[in-house]
């Protein structure tokens, strides 16, 4: 009798549990394959604040970016606490492949035209690769008028206007909330104001984000300079760049709002010409907005 009851229960579980056992089959099969998925969305955008992140645009995606930095907050009521002065960078970025993106831009401050390429070399995986690594290389040309030179036989070379920058971006998404990044960087100015100044600014950046909610993240980035710390811009001393902000996502867009001591947006200014300091309250309020357009549709959406 006991055996009967046992057999019956086996038979019934067999019948009822079929869908469950089929689902278990799928789960087991899944579990048998080692999960080496890409860890995506380490940051919400290709820029953290002033500098870049390891994030790339998708293939065939065009990103129009407008970055704005107002004047210094401590400029007083007559300048509406900095709002009356502003610097802008207008840029266009394009994702050639999933791993390679390029961009150009124009900065109002210093009348700079810049261009860069960023390639993702390592991709953080759920198992195995613990971090992502991207390499960014770029150059910028100042288009300000050539200065009047002391003697007529002196020449103002085009190369004087050019600077180069390279960054290695190493990021890790620790969990849903926390992502951190290291950004070893070098900026080379072909021309500096004095022979006493260093042409190379070598810096190590640290940055990160903490998600406060599904749609709001707190971000920060700091570039510590090892060389070029005594370089002046005119008579103004230069400082390390420190920026704090929020990424706010409103459905289709990411707004980045921040405060920073860098007066402009380019790598040249962020790394080498940050003439303002937090300690004196020389802080700029700013924002980045971006609008993406899909130029080349992913294959799933191509009309056959």
């Amino acid at each position: 009798m006991l055996a009967t009851a046992f057999s019956l229960s086996v038979a019934t579980t067999f019948a009822q549990g079929d869908a469950d056992s089929m689902m278990k089959m799928l789960d087991d099969e899944d579990a048998a394959v080692p999960k080496k998925e890409d860890v995506n969305f380490t940051f919400k955008a290709t820029r953290l604040i002033n500098g870049s992140t390891t994030e790339s645009l998708g293939a065939g995606v065009l990103d129009m970016r407008i970055s704005h930095r107002f004047g210094k907050i401590n400029q007083g009521a007559e300048n509406f606490f900095g709002i009356d002065n502003a610097n802008t960078r207008i840029g266009l970025d394009y994702g050639i492949t999933k791993y390679l993106m390029v961009g150009i831009g124009h900065n109002v401050l210093g009348k700079e035209n810049d261009g860069f390429a960023k390639v993702k070399i390592l991709q953080q995986k759920t198992e195995g690769m613990p971090f992502s690594l991207s390499f960014l290389t770029g150059a910028s040309i100042q288009t300000t008028k050539a200065p009047t030179l002391p003697t007529t036989d002196m020449k103002w070379y085009f190369s004087n206007r050019v600077c180069y920058f390279n960054q290695v971006l190493i990021s890790r998404k620790f969990n849903d909330k926390l992502s951190l990044m290291l950004m070893p960087s070098i900026l080379h100015n072909n021309l500096v104001d004095s022979t006493k100044f260093d042409n190379n600014t070598i810096a190590l950046g640290v940055g990160g984000r903490i998600k406060l909610s599904k749609r709001v993240a707190f971000t920060g980035e700091y570039y510590y300079r090892f060389t070029g710390t005594d370089n002046n811009v005119g008579s103004a001393k230069t400082y390390n760049s420190l920026s704090l902000g929020f990424d706010i996502e409103t459905g289709g867009h990411v707004f980045q709002l921040h405060i920073t001591n860098s007066p402009g947006i380019s790598e040249r200014i962020m790394l080498g010409q940050t003439t303002d300091t937090w300690s004196k309250g020389d802080i700029h309020y700013g924002f980045n907005i971006s609008r993406v357009f899909t130029i080349v549709k992913p294959k799933e959406f191509k009309k056959h």
Binding site: T4, A11, A15, A19, M23, D176, G251
Partner: protein, 183 residues
């Protein structure tokens, strides 16, 4: 009693022996959540749907990795995963159910049958009972399952921020197209 036991045993073993399992790992499920006020199409395709159908019992299961939904717009895909579906927390969506009118569909024979599949649909960590009409086409060792139905986002605790509330539909229409092969 002995007889009953014997019958139960035989039933169980025949089930196991002659179970007609059809299976795929490359089924297709797409959805559309575009509202009249959406500035762009909100739709995505997932080509990594796993499914098993037992043609004898009518048991039917579907499972898909949420991250495999491909959008036309990369940014939308990010927002879908990060904010709407929270795919790190809820990596899979699944359906466990049964063909409720199995008697009307002679799945052992070639043909197209209208079926109703009822069971439990789990999305975003929320499970609801659903009943979905669809068609099953049998052709030799191939079975094609097709269905189209609508789910309410609120039923699965998928929230849309108020700023874009009118730009995303409150409902998503889901299309299933899965070609299963006899195992």
């Amino acid at each position: 009693m002995k007889k009953l036991l014997f019958v139960a045993f035989i039933l169980g073993s025949t089930n196991a022996l002659f179970a007609q399992n059809y299976m795929t790992r490359t089924g297709k499920i797409s959805f559309n959540a575009t509202s009249p006020k959406s500035p762009e199409k909100i739709e995505a395709v997932n080509n990594e749907v796993a499914s098993i159908l037992n043609s004898k019992t009518g048991d039917f299961v579907f499972q898909l990795p949420v991250k495999s939904f491909k959008f036309e717009r990369e940014l939308m895909q990010q927002h879908f995963n990060e904010n709407y579906m929270e795919s790190d927390k809820f990596p899979k969506s699944e359906f466990k159910g049964k063909i409720s009118n199995l008697a009307d569909a002679n799945l052992g024979k070639d043909g197209t049958y209208n079926v109703t599949v009822a069971g439990k649909l789990s999305i975003h960590g929320v499970t609801n009972d659903v009943s979905v009409p669809g068609t099953i086409t049998v052709k030799g060792k191939d079975v094609t399952a097709k269905a189209k139905f609508t789910i309410k986002m609120a039923d699965y605790k998928i929230t849309v921020p108020t700023v874009v509330a009118d730009k995303v539909s409150k409902e998503a229409s889901i299309t299933i197209d899965a070609a299963l092969i006899q195992k």
